[in-house]
Symmetry: C2
Subunit: 140 residues, 2 copies
């Protein structure tokens, strides 16, 4: 995700206010690659600023998604929706055992649908998800 400063500028431009709670959330997300759920982020937040409410976390996540700086991720794990701080088009590696999600920064240029195959859909993007078992879970 963009730096906290960049996000702060964006929020200011849109007339959204900068609060200490939001500052902290921006900082936590800037260094995050774990595709956290709202709850996971909330736990992180209150470990540093104990009185922040869930509402604030949900609210800020929604603002970030609305601004296109954060993306909801399709996922199959429990515990709620996950968010991706990497909003560029990329792909995923999913551990079917522990539900960890890892980014893959590589293109698959041959993934193309012929016009007939697209069934009238106007294609915007595609996403490849690899399902497997991560190194840790293979040991178990």
């Amino acid at each position: 995700m963009k730096s906290p400063e960049a996000i702060i500028n964006l929020f200011s431009q849109k007339g959204l206010k900068i609060t200490p709670q939001r500052r902290l959330i921006f900082e936590l997300l800037a260094e995050d690659e774990s595709h956290p759920t709202a709850e996971e982020l909330y736990q992180l937040v209150i470990s540093r600023m104990p009185d922040v409410s869930q509402t604030t976390v949900y609210n800020t996540l929604h603002e970030l998604v609305a601004l296109g700086e954060l993306a909801p991720v399709e996922n199959l794990s429990e515990g709620g929706a996950r968010f991706d701080t990497n909003t560029s088009n990329h792909h995923h590696l999913f551990c079917m055992h522990c539900h960890t999600l890892v980014d893959i920064e590589r293109d698959f240029p041959d993934v193309q649908l012929a016009l007939a195959e697209a069934k009238g859909y106007q294609i915007v993007k595609y996403q490849v998800t690899f399902y497997g078992v991560c190194q840790e879970c293979q040991k178990i």
Copy 2:
């Protein structure tokens, strides 16, 4: 999905009982390609057999998934998890506007990760999802 008769045999073999409710669910799913949610299937069910409970629908869906005859689908729409009656490895076309999901029966043989790219994961399968706008939604 397999024919109702085939599913009935499977259930019998496993010691699961065949009820009129389950018969109906098997029939509805056999001819379904809409990737329904539990709720959507429940509505279909009660339109034909009004006293069936949600519990029964959820329960039967779970049994089918446990037997590998039905697959939960990753999805980004609201209204709960979707189920796929096509359990073979295939790909999807998703309308970002109306959230319709359509199967694509074609392979992308070049989607392969080199050992280093797999980051220690043991890959089981991969799934390509195309995001776009369906023909109906383009008109709006």
